[in-house]
């Protein structure tokens, strides 16, 4: 290992990528093992090889060890065992800087960009050209040239917070290429893209492989995407490589089975249910986002008892603002919200809880829970004002404890007990507590903001079932999701959102995935089939 460290270094970077042949192994991982404190084996002797000009997909569920592996390849984590070879040279990445110097570029799922900076500043960050006084003009020309080479459009002077998710991804890719990346790791590259953007990205990736670059997308569940772009697939499950096969030999069914480890049956049952009286009536609602830009424009809809309204859309098209405005976390610019016939447009949040509205936020750790509080105290967030648990200003912690135990039981929360701090819970269990807490109030309206985002298959199913149960007991449900399949499976009505507007309200029975997909991508035209 002493030798290995001596060989790596900046001086190698210049020539390591010379005379590369298509098909040559450019990156190899051998026996990568990572154990977290507490004994969890996140990566268990993982091996794989990436060849020049190849797209090598790595497939696995949440918790399969993808994130850990990616972080190791990019120097964010150090493996406990195992070696990485770049063009046959053993390397050791102690920081992302080391990985970048060896030609590895990473495009993160949760964008690693500074929103307040310009595109150019983001691309220059960490680049050798940004030493001393920056020659912005030259750098701009170089960046635009790279972008054009791969068919990207880029505006170097725009601020990143103004960009769409797709444009941000382009910035990340161009940034990696400008840094001289030869191996590009893409984390969930299409999760936030519209179908049109996805298509464009695939074309650009084709061009990259012609330049003898290795491209490694890491993908959770978009199986068609894997089949469409990759040459080879490595499937991870519980930290281990369970299979590796050329994409040509794979089918969606095979991939899904290997990934989950059991035959997959899509079983969610949505029983028919008669809707009742209107619960929430929204008329012409508009609101601004945190930057003061109008992000929700003149939205109108009605949700009835026993009905699920699915708000579909790519992140950043006003769904988040809609949820917050409906619950009073964000002031309405104009328009009216009526709940059970009462005007609640400007009602305080506390009144909304008391009237029977419920909200499960997308930001579960920042907004939905208080990490340093116990489960009991977190449950109290929805009950501290409730007469059943608040007697003359004194809280009935005993009663709350019982309630928490009920929630733990009913929602199958894995926890040592109701008195541990909630930050010790996993993401799925945290969401179960939040859902359980809100649903235990038996609200007449539930607004669920990205309820299953980032959860594993089991927890996702559980959460979705609970929403259907709420519908069955005649609650109105607003489900906000970026996953079209989830929307189509659960909703009675679908409201696709694009740039802050609801494109069209569709009854779920008549909604086709392609049509909704076109609507959220902003390419839907009324008269087209």
């Amino acid at each position: 290992m002493f030798k290995a460290r001596k060989q790596e270094g900046i001086e190698l970077h210049g020539d390591i990528w010379k005379h590369i042949q298509p098909g040559e192994v450019v990156l190899e991982a051998r026996g990568i093992t990572k154990r977290y404190p507490g004994g969890v084996l996140a990566n268990d002797h993982i091996d794989f090889k990436i060849r020049a000009g190849e797209i090598h997909a790595i497939l696995g569920e949440n918790g399969a060890g993808k994130t850990t592996l990616m972080s190791i390849l990019f120097g964010l984590l150090q493996p406990d065992e195992g070696e990485i070879y770049v063009r046959g040279l053993p390397v050791r990445f102690r920081s992302p800087e080391d990985a970048i110097k060896m030609g590895i570029g990473m495009v993160h799922q949760h964008r690693k960009l500074v929103p307040a900076h310009t595109v150019m500043e983001n691309i220059l960050l960490g680049h050798p050209r940004s030493r001393g006084v920056i020659d912005v003009k030259t750098a701009e020309e170089e960046v635009v040239a790279i972008a054009e080479r791969y068919g990207f459009k880029i505006d170097p002077r725009a601020r990143v917070w103004q960009l769409t998710e797709g444009e941000k991804q382009v910035v990340e890719i161009v940034k990696a290429l400008y840094r001289g990346a030869k191996i590009l790791i893409l984390d969930e590259p299409t999760s936030a893209l519209t179908p049109v953007e996805t298509e464009r990205l695939l074309e650009s990736i084709e061009t990259m492989t012609q330049d003898a670059l290795g491209v490694v997308p890491f993908i959770t569940h978009k199986l068609p995407m894997v089949l469409a772009i990759s040459d080879e697939v490595t499937i991870l499950r519980r930290g281990r490589v369970v299979d590796r096969l050329p994409t040509a030999e794979a089918t969606e069914q095979i991939l899904a089975e290997r990934m989950v480890g059991r035959p997959v049956i899509f079983t969610l049952q949505k029983p028919p249910h008669e809707p009742g009286q209107p619960v929430l009536q929204v008329e012409g609602l508009s609101a601004r986002n945190n930057k003061g830009v109008l992000a929700l424009k003149n939205v109108s809809f009605t949700v009835r008892e026993g009905e699920i309204l699915g708000i579909a859309g790519v992140a950043g098209n006003g769904q988040h603002e809609l949820a917050e405005t409906l619950f009073g976390l964000r002031p309405a610019e104009s328009g009216r919200v009526q709940f059970l016939g009462q005007d609640v447009t400007h009602a305080p949040i506390l009144d909304r809880w008391k009237m029977g509205m419920g909200y499960t936020p997308a930001e579960r750790t920042e907004v939905g829970s208080i990490g340093d509080f116990s489960l009991v105290e977190n449950v109290a967030m929805n009950y501290y004002f409730d007469e059943r648990y608040n007697r003359a200003g004194f809280l009935d912690y005993g009663g709350l404890r019982q309630l928490t135990e009920q929630i733990i039981e009913e929602f199958d929360v894995a926890t040592p007990g109701p008195d541990v701090k909630i930050q010790t819970l996993s993401g799925g269990n945290l969401q179960k507590v939040i859902m359980g807490r809100v649903l235990s109030r038996e609200p007449k309206l539930v607004i669920a903001n990205l309820p299953a985002q980032g959860l594993d298959v089991g927890a996702t199913e559980f959460v979705q079932r609970k929403l259907l149960e709420a519908r069955a007991r005649d609650a109105a449900v607003i489900l906000i999701s970026e996953d079209l399949d989830e929307i189509l499976a659960l909703s009675d009505w679908i409201a696709p959102m694009y740039e802050g507007e609801i494109v069209k309200l569709l009854p779920a029975a008549a909604a086709k995935k392609e049509v909704v997909g076109a609507m959220i991508a902003g390419v839907y035209k009324e008269n087209e089939p």
């Binding site: 992302p96 800087e97 110097k101 929103p115 307040a116 960050l125």
Partner: protein, 291 residues
Amino acid sequence: MLAFFIRSLEAAMIFTFAGLGELVDQRSGILNVGLEGIMLFGATLGFIAAQETESYLIGFLVGIGIGALLGLLHGFFSITLGVDQVVSGMGVWIFGFGMTTYIGSSHTGPLGMERLPTWFGISPFFFLSVVLVVLVWFVLNRTGWGLNIRSVGEQPSVAEVSGLKVARIRYLCVIFGGMMAGFAGAVYGLYYNPVWNYNFLMGWGFISLALVFFSMWNPYLLLGGAVLFGLLWQVSLNPQMFFPGLASRYIWRMVPFAMTILVLILISSKWFRSRWGATTPEALGKPYHKE
């Protein structure tokens, strides 16, 4: 009247020195509310060193040096140990307040040295403060170092994956902030008010801190704010110049502090913030842990 303006500008230069350091500090994401403590240390130790050695140079160097050390201490607490930055800053302030009270007490009284020379009647330090303002602006906005500092203060995790060393950049910034505050204190104790007395800084550190919020992290606005404050301070010290015979001197002494609060209210208002498009460095005050 001229003396009055010069005195105002000289007060402004002290606010500017301390504020510039804190501005760079905050741009890198580190909040140091202990500015007052560092300035007290710079003023007191600078005062004692100059008096003992009869050398202004040594006095200033000691002020800068102790400032660097305290900046380093705050950096160690807030960057390496991950202590809440407000707790650590408060610690630095109380430490400075408590220790200087003890250390300086035997030096109570005037410095007893020939006053530093002036240019055209005003301290050369004023010109230095203007130069530094331009320099800091240029570095922050036109160079790679500035880009790195701003990025670390906005999104440290982004800086990290871009190959920057977040902790190192932040350390350099807090040390710079400490040096500037120590220097500002030394200028106060050796030039502006060279008579040591218990807690003689009178909250100027806190005012400098408020000025950084006022500046919205722009060095030019910081200078403008500092000059405004210097004027206000002088008006309140010399009310008889403008409002002869009106109210007791004690009432006038309250004015600059009340003005600080008023200005702070103004700049905190939504109206002001949106008008100037102010954005706080996003990671300000948040400890950063590598994932």
